[in-house]
Amino acid sequence: MSKYGTVIGLETHAQLLTESKMFCSCSTKFGAKPNTNICPVCTGQPGVLPVLNKRAVALAIKTAIALNCRIEKMSIFARKNYFYPDNPKDYQISQYELPLATGGHLEIVVEGVKRRIGITRIHLEEDAGKLVHKGAARIMGAGESLVDFNRAGTPLMEIVTEPDIRSPLEAKVFMETLQHLLQFIGVCDAKMEEGSLRCDANISLRPAGETKFGTKTEVKNMNSFRAVWKALEAEEKRHAEVLDEGGKIAQETRFFDDINETTIGMRSKEYAHDYRYFPEPDLVPIEPEPAWVEEIKRTLGELPEKRKERFVKELGLPEADAEILISTPALSDYFEACVKTYSKPKIAANWIMGDLTAYLNANGLTIDRIGLTPGKLAEMLEMIDKGTISGKSAKTILVEMLKTGKTVHDIVKEQGLTQISDEGELIKIVEEVIKQNPKQVEEFKSGKETVIMFLVGQVMKASKGRAKADRAQELLRKKLI
């Protein structure tokens, strides 16, 4: 494959997290019965008119800022004219010549290498309805079809990349990074399997060292990150085979067949798409006020990459830990708040990524929904440091805190879980354990080193975890000489 260089550009669509649709006040909530979240506007009835959703514009501007784009001083809507049953007006309101934002980039890391992928443009448009094909899983071979307009009019943001992507794997990583960013800044759920993030790709090959682009094909129907990867790998391979045989690539659209992991050419009896774009007369231009853009910028906060960098550089976290902690804004906010009052970031990180996350997962909770505030967690960690409680008992204390919302002080007092600091008490327990376990004592005395851990374990058990493990071991060794 090093005979050729691969060039990939992606066209992605993200459903924006608004309550209502792009041009009407119908709900965007998923899962309603067919044709119930509809109104005259989103079903294209005669005489209706669109009115733009302000929040959709704000979310798109937010995304544009996060992707380092230039927010255009003026952008306009345009009609994209084509006939299809899921397109109620038989034109889609989109943007063509003057999109909302242009010229940005997204940095991704592929197999350890940092790559900057250019963003050509970001624009707003409306989603189509949903088609259900009768008698077949897909449109080819279907008899009749059924149209549900619940989705019609949902706000979409289209993000187009420059042809900067150089491998199918890179494309996959780009989509994953984009997903993370869109989720992080709260503009989109970005789940490819659910259709809230979609992507089409353009791919071409050129001889190694060649600067001119080869003929590209379009690839559609990639419904997961893996699909993006595999589809483009398959198409890359196909291009190479054609070129190896001295053939020419036909410019066409190809569908990804996820069962056989190949791409299938469209039987193009399809009429060439002449969308006849013209400025939408029913909508007026958007000229975002600088004050509004500033306000949106402020709500953006620190982007995940910057945060990760700060966690590594300023707080001394290993990169892998930082990576996990920035997976959601809530998680990174929680960690930050915790280390405001607690001085050991790595320890805090361990507890948050470990026991705390395990509890959340097991109980289907998210970190923003628990009663255990970062401050309360910090208190507990300090108690461990001071030796007031043992690390082991802290694990159960944590669960108790999560369950009841009580502070560590309350629980320790209630359950008498203070770490044993009184040597006398510990010595008593150690002597009891020695008495109860003559066999192991004998084994240890006759040279079996490892058995000491069993005895330590017994001391921990007898003390309900309140004993300090290493002190217990010291005392045992002393007594068993």
Partner: protein, 92 residues
């Protein structure tokens, strides 16, 4: 002026008869010839007008107001099934 009437009719999804194609083809040619008189008008440096009354930033708050009568919309469906609009086979 020769217009590809077939092509335009296809784009517009208008099923024209051969007679109509001939008739419209001729009429269209005359009309478009007439439209070409615009070429005599100097428009260099002139901005296009898409809106007679200039306005900007007309937007609405993101709030849900259900329409309340989707049945009235479905009632006009030429063919419907399971609460959805039925259309014939999409691919030839």
């Amino acid at each position: 002026m020769k217009i590809d009437v077939d092509h335009v009719a296809k784009l517009a999804r208008l099923g024209l008869t051969e007679e109509e194609k001939k008739l419209y083809g001729g009429q269209l040619a005359r009309i478009l010839d007439y439209a070409e008189t615009l070429n005599n008008l100097k428009t260099e440096g002139i901005e296009p007008t898409t809106h007679a009354i200039p306005m900007k930033n007309v937007m609405r708050e993101d709030a849900v107001h259900p329409f309340g009568d989707p049945a009235a919309i479905m009632a006009n469906a030429p063919q419907e099934e399971s609460g959805m609009f039925l259309v014939p086979r999409i691919v030839e």
